[in-house]
């Protein structure tokens, strides 16, 4: 008998989307000077609201507000008071979690199950975690009484809009910096709702400023002389542009960039859980994950078994309405991203790899791509080298652990990797030899605010999260300033 799941839609009525949004500068909503652009629901192409295109003069205004707040208020506040604001923000995020989850899903296209169970709880967790650090920075490992940079410019991507905001704003505020943040062009709504949370928490004006817009707004932020540090998460291509732009200036930067993670399945892995790990590694968040396990490396002796089980499991992935609580794979975030996925998968076809897609029905409206794997992929194929950032897995094989390492490391990226084996000595040896910033063993895509995240090579500079993440927002002070009466 067939067990079909009736529609189980999350209610949209918990969110109140304004017809248009201004910029959030100095604690207030102000009109921008760069016009507006629509923001849509990628699952339906429905226009949700009109967003302000932040201009260079808007950025200037926001940076000045952030500087003023830094100088006059935030840098003078006792550290434990900063911590209280962060705790307050964290609690409000929890209280309004359902609202944030629904809004995230509407604007991003990700399944409500993921925004509800992953994005929003983790965003709140980041604020809680960093709230605790605010008055303990002497123990962050960067010397005594470390100092904030001042005003930080932050540019975040569209794949985890609120979570990436939390990764940026929570450590910046905990360490005593003030912020001008530009959310991604296609997913500004939860950042704008977060501005409301700042107001609700009585955060002093100008400590957090949110300026929406496209790449031009981001460029104006990067190039503004009043910015002390840039924190960016996005593509390696844009990361390189930012690195060039700040070269020769005093600006510091942390960059979280692309990845092409190897997910290594040894023949002694717990195969059923490894298959789940493969699914989670590449199909979580439609594969719009910089640390996605997009290159599957399977030991040849279990290749057939793994592939059969993977395809059987992929056929069970529930693709469709992101607002349905039973949806596993939602919409591709934008037409542009869908075009990029299609271009790269066509390259996979023409370079001779074999494509297999889950036999699922895709909605007519919106941007969709079925879960897909390519077999017969070799190291030289574009789909084995370039970041697809979509629900597309390239499957390669290896014969020995040494060959697995060689193939896994043969990439300009080095953000993350996965290892599946029931033999711990092999896991440790593999982890030691992988050149990747985050390595998961017998799991994948697990995030925790206490764990540093970041990459080797062209996957970026610096780390976010954990004690290491604080270093990106603190100046090391070596001089002793407690000559007498010191601790």
């Amino acid at each position: 008998m067939e067990f079909t799941y009736a529609a189980a839609p999350e209610s949209r009525s918990v969110v109140d989307i304004a017809p248009s949004y201004k910029l959030f500068i100095n604690g207030d909503w102000v009109a921008g000077k760069g016009g507006t652009f629509p923001t849509i629901n990628p699952a339906t192409e429905e226009v949700l609201s009109k967003i302000t295109q932040g201009s260079a003069s808007d950025i200037d205004r926001a940076v000045k507000a952030a500087r003023n707040a830094y100088t006059k208020i935030w840098s003078k506040l006792p550290a434990k008071e900063r911590g209280k604001y962060l705790f307050r923000i964290a609690r409000i995020l929890q209280e309004r979690a359902r609202e944030f989850a629904v809004l995230e899903t509407l604007n991003n296209g990700k399944p409500i199950r993921e925004s509800r169970d992953v994005d929003i709880p983790l965003a709140a967790a980041h604020f809680f975690y960093h709230a605790g650090w605010a008055d303990k920075l002497d123990y962050a490992g960067v010397g005594k009484s470390p100092k904030p940079y001042g005003v930080v410019g932050q540019i975040i991507p569209w794949n985890f809009p609120l979570l990436m905001l939390a990764w940026k704003i929570a450590p910046a505020l905990a360490t005593g910096n003030t912020v001008v943040l530009k959310p991604a062009e296609t997913t500004p709504l939860t950042a704008l709702l977060f501005a409301e949370v700042c107001q609700q928490a009585d955060l002093p004006d100008g400590v957090v400023n949110i300026v929406t817009g496209d790449g031009r707004t981001g460029a104006a932020l990067v190039n503004h002389p009043g910015i002390d540090k840039i924190a960016f998460t996005g593509s390696t291509e844009v990361g390189k542009i930012i690195a060039r732009a700040i070269a020769g200036t005093e600006k510091k930067a942390t960059l979280e960039l692309g990845g092409k993670a190897a997910n290594i399945i040894y023949d002694d892995a717990a195969i059923d859980q490894a298959v789940e790990g493969i699914i989670n590694g590449i199909f979580f968040n439609q594969g719009h994950v910089c640390c996605a396990g997009s290159r599957l490396l399977v030991q040849e002796s279990v290749y057939g078994t793994v592939l059969d089980k993977l395809q059987e499991r992929m056929a069970k992935i529930r693709v469709g309405d992101p607002m349905d609580k039973n949806t596993d794979l939602g919409a591709i975030n934008s037409a542009a991203q869908l075009a990029k996925i299609k271009e790269l998968t066509s390259a996979g076809d023409s370079e001779g790899a074999t494509r297999w897609s889950s036999p699922c029905e895709l909605p007519e409206k919106g941007f969709w791509f079925a879960p897909t794997i390519f077999t017969g992929v070799t190291e030289s194929h574009r789909i084995a080298r370039e970041e697809i950032f979509g629900p597309v897995l390239s499957v390669l094989t290896f014969r020995t652990p040494a060959e697995a390492i060689e193939k896994a490391n043969a990439t300009p990226y080095g953000l993350s990797a996965g290892i599946w084996s029931e033999k711990s000595s092999k896991i440790l040896w593999t982890a030691q030899n992988l050149r990747a910033g985050v390595i998961w063993s017998n799991t994948f895509n697990k995030f925790d605010p206490a764990s540093p995240f970041g990459g080797y090579k062209e996957s970026g500079w610096g780390r976010e999260g954990g004690r290491h993440g604080l270093h990106g927002y603190l100046l090391t002070t070596q001089k002793s300033h407690s000559q007498k009466g010191g601790k």
Binding site: M1, E2, F3, T4, Y5, A6, A7, A8, R113, D117, D268, A269, A270, I271, D272, Q273, A274, E276, G277, D308, K316, K325, N326, E422, N442, T443
Partner: protein, 316 residues
């Protein structure tokens, strides 16, 4: 399709060698998968379908020292007509009782339009399995002679944990030989005593290879019992066994499934692991007693729009 038995000679060392070829079960991973499937939201028409399907899969059970003929007859009435006020409620999958009460159950069912409902008996020195083979065989003969058409046997967990796989295997084979065409054999692993998921998987294969028609989680006398990750592990074993042999083995989740929500979670596990083939009482059963009343109350709620008190279902 090859016979799995070709891979082993039935000795301890042969079975060990074969069981060692099975991939392990990662505890964190299997629990995470079961928890994720537990978030499936089953509403409206699918909930109604799931409730009726679950009712038809219930092995309505009483396994108490205090069981009497009267209690068993009442249970049989409930099995035939779970809700006397609503004839659209399906009858349950089976009635499950101790050996000495099988005849009473069988007779009562036959005399009251319940001939289609099988009687299952628990044998082989249930629940501990601590008896000689001669006693276990005699126990099973007794049940069959009294009219049981389903035998729920327990494995010797002591032998399993001591690595005497050959002994466990032979016991199941011996009981299967007695059941032959007369009864369906359900093999109870008592997963709460096997503890690890690796053991659950190995014991599942051992039972399937030895001739089990069903593998069953628990006696109901030990906790934890039919937890979602345990059932998921067994369903995966059943699926792999089907891939290897083409033979479909049933699964019975028993113990700790008390609410409609619990039961629906089990059906979701079945649906998304082995698929719709197993969504039938011939391949999936739920061993329970209190569950049935909750299913009936939820069914009433779906029909009337409001919850009835527990006074509106019969005590069994």
């Amino acid at each position: 399709m090859t016979s799995v038995l070709e891979h082993t000679d039935g000795t301890d060392s042969g079975l060990k060698r074969f069981l060692a070829t099975l991939s392990g079960v990662d505890k964190v991973g299997v629990e995470a998968r079961a928890a994720m499937l537990g978030t499936r939201s089953i509403k409206t028409t699918s909930k109604a379908w799931a409730i009726d399907t679950a009712i038809s899969m219930v092995d309505l059970t009483t396994l108490e020292g205090a069981d009497t003929p009267g209690k068993v007859r009442a249970l049989c009435e409930k099995a035939i007509r779970p809700d006397p006020t609503d004839s659209t409620v399906p009858s349950v999958g089976a009635v499950c009782v101790y050996n000495d009460l099988v005849k009473i159950a069988r007779t009562h069912l036959d005399d009251n339009n319940g001939a289609r409902i099988p009687v299952a008996a628990v044998t082989t020195a249930f629940p501990s399995g601590r008896a000689t083979m001669a006693v276990k065989i005699r126990d099973t003969h007794d049940a069959l002679d009294a009219g049981a058409t389903e035998i729920d046997m327990v494995i010797d967990r002591g032998a399993f944990l001591a690595g005497r796989y050959g002994e466990v295997f032979e016991e199941i084979r011996a009981i299967k030989a007695i059941c032959k065409d007369r009864a369906h054999l359900k093999v109870i692993l008592e997963t709460g005593e096997l503890v690890t998921y690796d053991n659950v998987k190995k014991a599942s294969f051992l039972a399937m290879m030895a001739g089990a028609d069903f593998i069953k989680t628990s006696t109901g006398k030990v906790t934890p019992a039919a937890t979602p990750p345990v059932v998921l592990t067994m369903l995966e074993a059943v699926r792999d066994y089907y891939e290897m042999t083409g033979i479909r083995i049933g699964v019975k989740a028993a113990g700790g499934i008390r609410t409609t929500k619990d039961a629906i979670k089990q059906l979701v596990l079945v649906n998304e692991t082995v698929g719709s083939e197993w969504l039938s009482p011939t391949l999936f059963r739920i061993g329970a007693s209190a569950l049935l009343n909750d299913l009936l109350l939820q069914r009433m709620k779906m029909r009337t729009g409001h919850y009835a008190s527990a006074n509106y279902v019969t005590v069994d």
